[in-house]
């Protein structure tokens, strides 16, 4: 892992919405092919962190570097950066007025100026990979939540991003659809994708992550391999967090 | 030149005359609004009746009233009624009649829309906590209907005030007519008075309608949460 090149680097990132900092001093390095999973209590800033990385939120301090190049500047061309950093959101955010195929082609055709035929063929391959070959012409309203989310993943994948960000992509799904989406993500991770994932699914985190980052109150409390994190927590905060989860799972796994 | 013109507004009792003229318009709209609320509520409830004949008749009435320009309706009543039935109505009475007919149609539609918007389970959950039928309406249904009804009804009021400006076309002496008279009266002393007087009329209408619009929007926002 140490040998691999650094794709993304955060140095002392601070984010403040104007009523106290949400992210206080975040520094981390993401390597090529690494899967980094962020966990932590609600409101700890993990979603905000992802949104800062692809410029949906500005930062008030620190630096973000992509391939060694500073991207947290006033005149960053975010449209270009976002082609390299794909993002999938919690609320399956397909464009409702377009078919699945049109949703997927919008980026490659309008942004990257790629040949429509070629992009279409790739889209077909990707849709097959996530098990949606028969839904190309469907509108989002005709899909289940899990299908929408898989289509959204394809829409991000087709841009050939260097990094994919997943922001609680299963949080809004019905329980029986969570698995199909997680399976797709797991498969992506295995095939060498560089990913940053925010999730509440701890067993999934354990299975998919190369590194787990535990965030609380805007700072990185713990960072380590899944094995380290789940068996030997270094801090009391992480222990408490995991305990509430275990307790909740015994009560029936309801996580608000 | 323009510095001279504005003078006309403050000469004699001109400003007061304009206000009196505006009051004629506003009075017509207010009477019509009040009547429309009463008739419109009945009309709205009548539209939920199952009898197809009643429904179709009301529907045709409603559509005709809403599709015709209000000025055409004014002409129909003011010129048409007197000719057809020998009833001679003054411009003001014609106006009240027309705006009540029109306002009731619009109001009826609003009432129907608002009462359809209260979901059925609201009645059921009201009954479930032991309220009787009257209490369910008093505490649960009516407040919800009113919240949906009041803001659009206030907007209808501003529409009525604006539309009432048309009565000048059937000879009612209201604010525009007064404005014309003032301009005519000062034709030689203040030749450019039209700019200022009509500008003042525009402002007067704005001042009559804007607060109502703002209040309606405010209520809408407050009641949404």
């Amino acid at each position: 892992m140490e040998k691999k090149e650094i794709v993304l680097e955060l140095k002392h990132v601070r984010k403040d919405f104007g009523n106290g900092p949400v992210l206080k001093d975040i520094s981390l390095q993401l390597h090529k092919g690494e899967v980094m999973v962020f966990i932590g209590p609600s409101g700890c800033g993990k979603s905000t962190l992802l949104r800062c990385i692809n410029g949906l939120e500005g930062i008030q301090g620190g630096e973000i570097l992509l391939n060694g190049k500073l991207i947290s500047t006033e005149n960053t061309k975010w449209s270009e950066v976002r082609q390299k950093i794909g993002m999938v959101f919690q609320s399956y955010d397909l464009f409702p007025h377009m078919t699945v195929m049109e949703n997927i082609l919008l980026g490659p055709v309008k942004v990257q100026g790629r040949n429509r035929k070629e992009a279409e063929q790739e889209a077909e391959r990707l849709l097959e990979r996530v098990g949606l070959s028969d839904k190309q012409r469907a509108f989002p309203a005709q899909l289940s939540g899990g299908q929408k989310q898989r289509a959204a993943i394809v829409r991000a994948l087709i841009m050939k991003p260097q990094i994919l960000l997943f922001d609680e992509v299963t949080a809004a799904l019905d329980p029986e659809m969570v698995r199909e989406v997680l399976d797709v993500m797991l498969e992506l991770a295995k095939s060498g994708g560089t990913m940053m994932i925010v999730t509440h699914e701890l067993s999934f985190a354990k299975a998919v992550a190369d590194r787990i980052i535990f965030l609380d109150d805007g700072i990185i409390v713990e960072s380590g391999t899944p094995e380290e994190f789940f068996t030997r927590q270094k801090t009391e905060r992480a222990q408490r967090f995991l305990n509430t989860f275990i307790f909740r799972e015994e009560k029936g796994g309801d996580e608000a | 030149m323009p510095e001279l013109g504005i003078r006309v507004l403050f000469m004699g009792n001109n400003l007061q005359r304009l206000f009196t003229g505006l009051w004629v318009t506003v009075r017509i709209s207010l009477i019509a609004v009040l009547l429309s609320m009463v008739f419109g509520t009945f009309l709205g409830l009548a539209m939920t009746v199952r009898n197809p004949l009643v429904r179709v008749t009301l529907r045709i009435y409603l559509e005709f009233i809403r599709i015709m320009p209000q000025l055409v309706l004014l002409f129909l009543v003011y010129f048409g009624l007197s000719k057809a039935f020998g009833i001679n109505l003054s411009g003001e009475v014609s106006a009240v009649l027309v705006f009540t007919l029109w306002g009731s149609a619009e109001m009826g539609d609003l009432v129907r829309g608002a009462s359809n918007c209260v979901p059925k389970h609201q009645y059921e959950s009201g009954a479930a906590i032991g309220l009787n039928r009257g209490q369910v309406y008093r505490y649960i249904i009516l407040p919800q209907i009113l919240r949906r009804l009041v803001p659009p009804a206030m907007n209808l009021t501003t529409r009525m005030i604006k539309t009432t400006s048309l009565v000048v076309m059937i000879g009612v002496v209201e604010v525009l007519k007064v404005a014309q008279q003032i301009i005519e009266g000062n034709r030689y002393t203040v030749p450019d008075s039209a700019l200022w007087v009509y500008g003042a009329v525009l402002l007067l209408y704005f001042l009559a309608c804007w607060p109502v619009s703002l209040f309606a929007r405010h209520l809408e926002k407050v009641w949404k949460n």
Binding site: G86 | D192, Y198
Partner: protein
């Protein structure tokens, strides 16, 4: 009813109706352009212009067209600004209609979920592209019923054009009543003419509204 009289004056009504349709059509077209422009200024929160647009919309929506026309036609010439009757009518309608259309477009734009814009940006679209391909098509679908209702409203408002010396339907009707006392015939033709113009537009508006409602857009 005097059918001979009616037949004789049908061409006069037809000509007046043509005026209503042409001026109404132009007024609606310009209103749509003005309204869209205003809504976009509000949407992108362009400083200063945003305030001007807000003030304009309030003024347009809270004053009657009739008074606006009086001001344009009789007031402005005293300040050295002269318009022809037709220009006055179109400016008046655009001023009034622009305010209403802006509100219709604005509520459509507001109805599109914020995350749609973020999703559009996330696939690399710039702000203009996000608006064009993702936000606006969805907003338009929501706006259509209100836009249509405004169009019907604006055509009805053309009935005051006679005050700026245009020989519209009301003018012709009033003329015939005054000259020949053929009140019933004149009013009958007036109502018929407006029905012929407004019924198709209303039916189309109702149809579009239903289509949009059941189009299944939105998830």
């Amino acid at each position: 009813m005097d059918t001979v009289f009616i037949k004789e004056y049908i061409p006069m009504y037809a000509k007046a109706a043509e005026l209503t349709i042409v001026l109404g059509g132009l007024g609606i077209a310009f209103s749509l352009i003005a309204g869209l422009l205003c809504a976009l200024i509000q949407y992108f929160r362009i400083p200063l212009f945003k305030r001007l647009v807000n003030a304009y919309i309030e003024l347009a929506r809270n004053t009657p067209l009739l008074v606006q026309l009086f001001f344009l036609y009789f007031g402005l010439p005293k300040a050295g600004i002269h318009f022809s009757s037709e220009t006055c009518a179109i400016i008046g309608m655009t001023f009034l209609g622009g305010g209403y259309m802006a509100e219709a477009f604005r509520s459509g734009l507001m109805s599109v979920d914020k995350v749609q814009k973020e999703a559009a940006l996330a696939v690399g679209l710039n702000h203009r592209q996000a608006l064009m391909y993702v936000i606006f098509p969805q907003a338009l679908a929501v706006s259509v019923p209100a836009l249509c209702a405004n169009a019907v409203f604006l055509i009805k408002e053309t009935s005051v054009f006679s005050v700026v010396a245009l020989a519209d339907l009301m003018f012709v009707a009033k003329d015939l009543i005054g000259l020949y006392y053929k009140t019933q015939e004149a009013l009958f033709m007036l109502v018929t003419a407006y029905l012929i113009i407004l019924l198709p537009v209303s039916v189309l508006a109702a149809y579009l509204e239903r289509r949009v409602k059941y189009a299944g857009i939105g998830n």
